[in-house]
Amino acid sequence: MRDILFELLQLVVIVLIAPLVTGFIKKTKALLQGRRGPRVLQPYYDLYKYMRKDAVVSKASSWIFTATPYVVFGATLAAAALVPVFMRDSLFSFTGDLVLLVYLFALARFFIAMAGVDTGSSFGAQGASREMFVSSLAEPALFVTLLAAALPAGTTHLSSIVAHAAERGWPTSPVFYMMVVAFAILVIAETGRIPVDNPDTHLELTMIHEGPILEYSGKSLALLQWSASIKQVLLFALLADLCFPWGLAASADGPAVLAGLAVFAVKMAAIGVIVSCVEMSTAKMRLFKVPRLLGAALVLSLFALTAEYLM
């Protein structure tokens, strides 16, 4: 009973702190760039504001456009229920594994892309096309990395992977870090950050992720942005789970969970800092340079895998 409660808490935490992470990254970026930047809590204010605003919906669009934000949020939420964050087990771990997780994100992307086309705006369609393009190039690398990560546990079941990895202790092989790098690249691609995409721009010709949601406003926009930040947290958490799976509460008792929470916060912060460093130190790539980056990720993960086989 208690663990169910805690696992529910896990889900709630993810949903709630997601905007915070976004704000944190923005802030750190600003500081690193020597600006004051917005408040850390700014995203919350934004969301609240959007929620209360009336929405303008394109005449050209259909019910797909209206439904999309809810589907996306729903899918992201479902994904959130699968990922252990500060406990080894997650609420709905029995429902699915890594594959389901990936495909839930894919589902969200699917609808975002369609909504982008639905408005009839060529920016939306362009963005949709690029979104699908980048993601389809990221997918193979992602899966190989997951395979590499899941290999020691011999299962694609997240909780068991985490548990197994936690037992395993600190990995020494350099191979392991190849995998980490590969996965990091993928996380950046999936979250739509520099150098693959720039979340803060609305410069028409360069947007990828922002394109499809260009037409959104009001509640819908709020939901979309919220789920975007949730997805980001989830991916960070996943990175943490697969690469540094320590400090997660093995059992559902208060102290352990608190410890887990603390560790989780630290992890998020660390990743956030790293990400913002990357963002301020590199420039966005041309679209057709992206395949090389992702290819590199694939190669890295394959190396990692081969090495693991040979050891």
């Binding site: 005449k59 594959v99 894919a106 086309v117 057709f288 081969t306």
Partner: protein, 652 residues
């Protein structure tokens, strides 16, 4: 029965054909439960020309698929054939369709070689005629011809394979062939022959050339049957050989099949993204899915060779389930494409768009199909994809050898890429047809499909969802099927899990729960939005288009949508790109208009088949010269033959 031209007669006919489909499905379900039962045994004039029909659980599974799709197709036909009334003989089409379904059923029910080849060829011939149904349309002739020839040549390989088996088993009955044991070399020979023979039917690259021609040429419900079911008979046949008639072979079988499958899948999906003709695109996507299926078979064969029965069972389960799923959603999509074709009189997606408002039902069903094709949870496509991923992961986790594991990893990468591209494809398919603004007059005038067509599509869409959230729909069938296959009785028991969950080799998921989770997510989203935001209004407005009013010609086209792929894979696909700029001589810096055409050349044909064909014809022309019309030379040939034979007789 089909002579009735009166409305009543037609109704009757449609009714009967629908009944036939239903009966087939029922027999499939029936067959799944019981053991082998012989349906018919007719003695032939000569030895080994008996006709033997029987149902095993193995064939029953395919019967079930044939039945469901057949039923849908027959219902769909009732509305769809109206398009042809007056122009063509509808009864002929209907009769052909039923014969086609019957022949496919015959293939999976055949109990000996003669019956199998008979049904197999009848299936090919009838489908050839169905492809040629609209033979006045340009390109149809060629499509049908290529189809007929390829499939016939494939059949020759099969025939020889069968005869080799006969040679060692001394019988033409499958039941007896199974006991025979062949020398390794003969085994591999038969395997290769079967791979070529069934690969031709399955459209494995480079034997696929007929598929993207023939499937679009046929009437849509026939395309649905061909893509959805006929290709599966190839899978059935290949499994019949590899699992029943042959003993487990060396590892390279599996590797070869795996590689071939991956190659085919990638080729198929990339070309599908290059197509703007909807039905051709779907045909290429069928090639992709056949590739995926053969990847699964390859994994299964590798496991079999290594004696890892359990893993093999999982892989086979994946293959069977995905085969059934593909049958469902691909036939659904073809029917949807047919509905659109009937409504807008074009399959060119660049000229469609915005149909969701004109044909909401079709759009809804197509959405289901597209989601399934993209393997999105909680639809059936995902279940199959997940199983396949699991079996490939299993190969990566504990494949028999390091290299094989690496092969597994690469296969995983390939499947992931293909899957993602398939998602891209589905978005393109649905969005470019139904969303944004109609890009042509026909599209603006489109009408919703007739009731029977909607019923058929609805049936399939519903079964897509059902098979997605309640995988036990097929799981049970797969169970029995694997039980039938020698040596799996133990292993297949591992597939058994709670009715709501499905097991892979190393993991398990509960799709139903996932579906529920999604629903909760949706509710939560709505609730949150409502709770935080309270009630707000929505106003309709123009789409932001840099201040210009939005016109259909400004919206994205299918060609543009998949451009990034063409660019990224140009080394592989060598796309042709023609940009014509219409300049005004007076103002050379401003062009009046641009016409851009980008398409993918049919590489395999241009590099492999065309040259070979030309060589053949040239050779024939040359050889034909020996009949030069001079009677004396003929006498000379006669004399020469005589002398040669005499000499031959003397010197031996």
């Amino acid at each position: 029965m089909f002579s009735g031209h009166s409305a009543v007669g037609r109704r009757l006919a449609h009714g009967c054909s629908a009944l036939a489909g239903a009966a087939l499905a029922a027999s499939g379900i029936g067959g799944l439960s019981g053991g082998t039962l012989t349906v018919a045994h007719i003695r032939g004039a000569l030895p080994f020309t008996d006709i033997l029909l029987r149902v095993t659980e193995f064939s029953a599974f395919f019967l079930l698929v044939i039945g469901i799709v057949g039923l849908a197709a027959t219902i769909y036909a009732a509305g769809y054939v109206k398009e042809y009334e007056g122009r063509k003989s509808v009864p002929l089409l209907q009769a052909g369709m039923l014969l086609f379904i019957a022949a496919m059923a015959g293939v999976v029910m055949a109990g000996n070689v003669f019956t199998f080849l008979l049904a197999w060829e009848v299936m090919s011939v009838v489908s050839y005629f169905l492809v040629m149904y609209e033979h006045e349309r340009p390109g149809t002739k060629r499509a049908g011809f290529v189809y007929a020839v390829m499939t016939h040549i494939g059949t020759v390989f099969l025939t020889i394979a069968f005869f080799i088996l006969r040679h060692y088993s001394g019988s033409f009955e499958f039941a007896r062939m199974e006991q025979a044991s062949l020398p390794a070399s003969a085994q591999s020979l038969v395997f290769v022959l079967a791979l070529i023979g069934f690969g031709t039917k399955a459209g494995l690259v480079p034997l696929h050339i007929w598929l993207p021609r023939a499937h679009p040429a046929a009437p849509s419900h026939i395309s649905a049957l061909m893509s959805g079911v006929m290709l599966k008979t190839a899978v059935y046949g290949f499994l019949l050989f590899t699992l029943h008639l042959l003993q487990p072979g060396p590892v390279w079988w599996g590797v070869a099949v795996l590689a071939l499958g991956a190659n085919t899948a990638l080729f198929g999906v990339l070309h599908a993204l290059g197509e703007v003709d909807k039905k051709r695109m779907l045909a290429y996507s069928s090639i992709e899915n056949m590739g995926i299926l053969f990847m699964g078979i390859g994994a299964a064969l590798i496991f079999l060779a290594a004696g890892q029965k359990a893993a093999a069972a999982f892989a086979l389960a994946a293959v069977l389930v995905h085969a059934a799923n593909h049958a469902l959603f691909k036939s659904l999509l073809f029917m949807g494409a047919g509905a659109v074709l009937k409504a807008a009189h074009t399959a060119n997606m660049n000229r469609l768009g915005g149909l969701i408002r004109r044909m909401p039902w079709t759009a809804l069903f197509m959405l289901a199909g597209a989601l399934a094709m993209a393997a999105m949870p909680p639809l059936n496509g995902f279940v199959g994809e997940w199983r396949l991923f699991q079996s490939l992961f299993a190969l990566g986790f504990d494949g028999p050898a390091t290299l094989l594991r690496l092969a597994g990893a690469l296969a995983v990468a390939a499947l992931a890429l293909v899957g993602a591209l398939a998602a891209f494809l589905s978005v393109r398919l649905f969005a470019m047809t139904f969303l944004a603004l109609p890009r042509s007059e026909e599209a603006r005038e489109a009408r919703e499909a007739s009731l029977s067509m909607r019923i058929a599509m609805g049936l399939l869409a519903a079964s897509c969802v059902a098979a997605g959230v309640l995988p036990l729909v097929f799981a049970g069938a797969v169970q029995n099927t694997l039980e039938r296959i020698a040596g799996f009785s133990g292993a297949s028991s591992m597939l058994e899990v709670s009715p709501l969950a499905i097991a892979g080799a190393d993991s398990e998921i509960a799709p139903a729960a996932a579906g529920l989770l999604l629903l909760c997510g949706l509710a939560a989203a709505w609730a949150l939005a409502r709770a935080i935001g309270g009630k707000t209004r929505t106003v309709r407005g123009e789409t932001w288009n840099c201040g210009e009013p939005l016109e259909p010609r400004m919206t994205y086209t299918a060609s543009g949508f998949s451009k990034p792929i063409r660019v990224a894979f140009q080394r592989l696909l060598l796309p042709s790109r023609v940009l014509y700029v219409d300049r005004d001589p007076r103002t050379p810096y401003f062009a009046r208009g641009f016409t851009y055409t980008g398409q993918l050349p049919a590489l395999v044909e241009n590099l492999l088949y065309k040259p070979a064909m030309n060589l053949l014809v040239a050779g024939a022309r040359l050889f034909r010269g020996i009949q030069n019309g001079v009677v004396q030379s003929y006498l000379l040939y006669l004399l020469a033959t005589l002398v040669l034979i005499l000499v031959w007789r003397i010197w031996r």
